[in-house]
């Protein structure tokens, strides 16, 4: 198993990606990693670290795609970026997956262009884990496709179903279509048509609403990338902002220091699933390869988790199952 890691993807480069890769080598003795990035930077990040050098390969990729750079421009103007080089190595079969905590838009575009689409896939999608009272559930699309057609939403549902079952261990994933009401005539024309098409899937539970996400009234929540991205970012903002409100309450109530500490401790622990660092990277589903993106703020632990997730996805043969399902 060989995983390529983007050394210059994310806010904490090169230390988070390199640190995460070394952690993954410890977790998985049969793993080899390709560290893709500017050679000198990669070497200096490895400096003084203890690791099995025979399992670490430095791949020089001198160009860096910035976190806020325009995806289309970055792809065109930087053919030697870590993203382009890493994904090309994957395409050539020199590694089993590519992981990065870099620019999501650029990664999606490059994954689609360089790896190509799986047979039968209309549009690659990005999924996100969403916390619920029953643990993580899946939201698809999380921002890759803001304009969708019903046939695309149906494919998102089917790819999400396979991912939820094989990667998240949900036995019979229930598929719900996010809408403004339960009745099948609700919503936009795209949603009404999608509802009719989704009826042919045995696990389709119908329309679900915004209030059905947290209680996990479905396992795979299907939506367009606008709705999904707004929900994703809203969820990520909960910890910080509820924390601010909580501080206000604690102050108003003149809570003793010890009690305040307990309250914050319980709160932090409760909202931990909403912290993006606890999710080990999200896959682009529908591309002909295994390409995962992590949150820009990824810690070494988050990168480590993303690498393990990539290995899992390769071993579970998710892509073969997607091709078979869409045939």
């Amino acid at each position: 198993m060989v995983i390529a890691v983007d050394v210059v993807g994310g806010d904490h480069i090169p230390d988070s990606p390199v640190g995460g890769a070394l952690l993954a080598l410890e977790s998985n003795p049969s793993l080899q990693v390709l560290l893709v990035g500017p050679e000198a930077m990669t070497k200096s990040a490895l400096d003084g670290k203890v690791y099995d050098a025979s399992r670490v390969h430095i791949i020089d990729a001198p160009e860096i795609v910035g976190m806020d750079e325009s995806p289309s421009k970055a792809i065109k103007s930087k053919p030697n970026s870590s993203i382009a080089v890493g994904l090309s190595l994957h395409k050539q079969g020199k590694c089993d997956a590519f992981v990065s905590a870099g620019n999501t838009g650029a990664l999606l575009a490059a994954s689609t262009v360089i790896l190509g689409r799986l047979q039968g896939v209309l549009r690659p999608t990005i999924v996100t884990y969403y916390p619920s009272v029953k643990g993580f559930r899946l939201l698809v699309d999380a921002g890759a496709n803001v304009e969708v057609r019903p046939e695309m939403l149906v494919q998102f549902a089917r790819m999400g179903e396979i991912y939820a079952r094989d990667m998240m261990g949900i036995a019979e994933p229930k598929i719900g279509l996010l809408n403004v009401g339960e009745e099948e005539e609700k919503g936009t024309e795209v949603l009404r048509e999608s509802h009719q098409l989704l009826k042919s899937l045995p696990n389709f539970v119908g329309n679900v609403e915004g209030r059905d996400i947290l209680p996990a009234n479905a396992d795979v929540f299907v939506c367009d990338g606008l709705v999904g991205n707004i929900l994703l970012k809203f969820g990520e903002s909960l910890v910080t902002n509820l924390g601010v409100l909580l501080k206000q309450t604690v102050k108003e109530l003149h809570l003793p220091e010890e009690a305040a500490k307990t309250v914050f401790g319980v709160f932090q622990r409760t909202l931990k699933p909403f912290d993006p660092d606890n999710v080990g990277g999200l896959p682009f589903l529908g591309v002909d390869g295994v390409s995962l993106v992590g949150h820009g703020s990824s810690s070494p632990k988050a990168i480590h988790n993303m690498i393990l997730n990539a290995i899992h996805m390769v071993e579970a043969k998710v892509n073969d199952k997607i091709v078979a399902a869409l045939r």
Copy 2:
């Protein structure tokens, strides 16, 4: 000031609407109320209550629109419903506003048909209050219009701006367009065109994302009714579901009873703004009248707050300002 109250709108009828109306009479000595609903039911709800009978007028409306009834069917088949009768009285000038905790879809449809649109308004909209670290902010559209054109979103922004300023006391309401990214080329074609049109508004702060809602990085969040409705219902589901997660944490930590009580108390108080009962009804903006809808679960206190909100909206001449702004 005469306000018509739907006696049979909501989950707790007739007691919540009648109780709320009597509370409002106490709050505002110059108020008169029309109680619109099946006469016998209204009379029995008033039975034994102490109130100034000269300020309470019972209007018989024998038909009831159910909470889950199809709006279009309800409007056509029940011309003597409390909704139809109450809004017609308002149209005839026999009251200054109509409030109901009933079927939102039916109320929107009936308000649009019976009251008509304000001059220049393309589509009436429904707004919702959204909690933030700075207090409530405005989300528009909250579900009335799932398919929108750019010109509609611009009108939602302008109506929302007037409402935020005159009804919510936000001096210079900043307008943000909910999107997947800050850059003006982001999002759907409708969003990109809307962005260009919104630029002509001095208070437009550009695109905002899901993470910008809770910190109130805008005061008026403009979106289509699909996004708005999903966010609205997601927000309403927070208290219950975070409560479930909190209970799990408290159990895992084996927290002593006293500490657990403190934790739940602080949590309840902190999330109070997310409880829909604390918002005093939401207006349909753009209709030629003052028509407010409350949450189905409205308590007498919530109905009371909705009546006071309706009075405020009449006195602030919100509709005159909307007509002037759109001229």
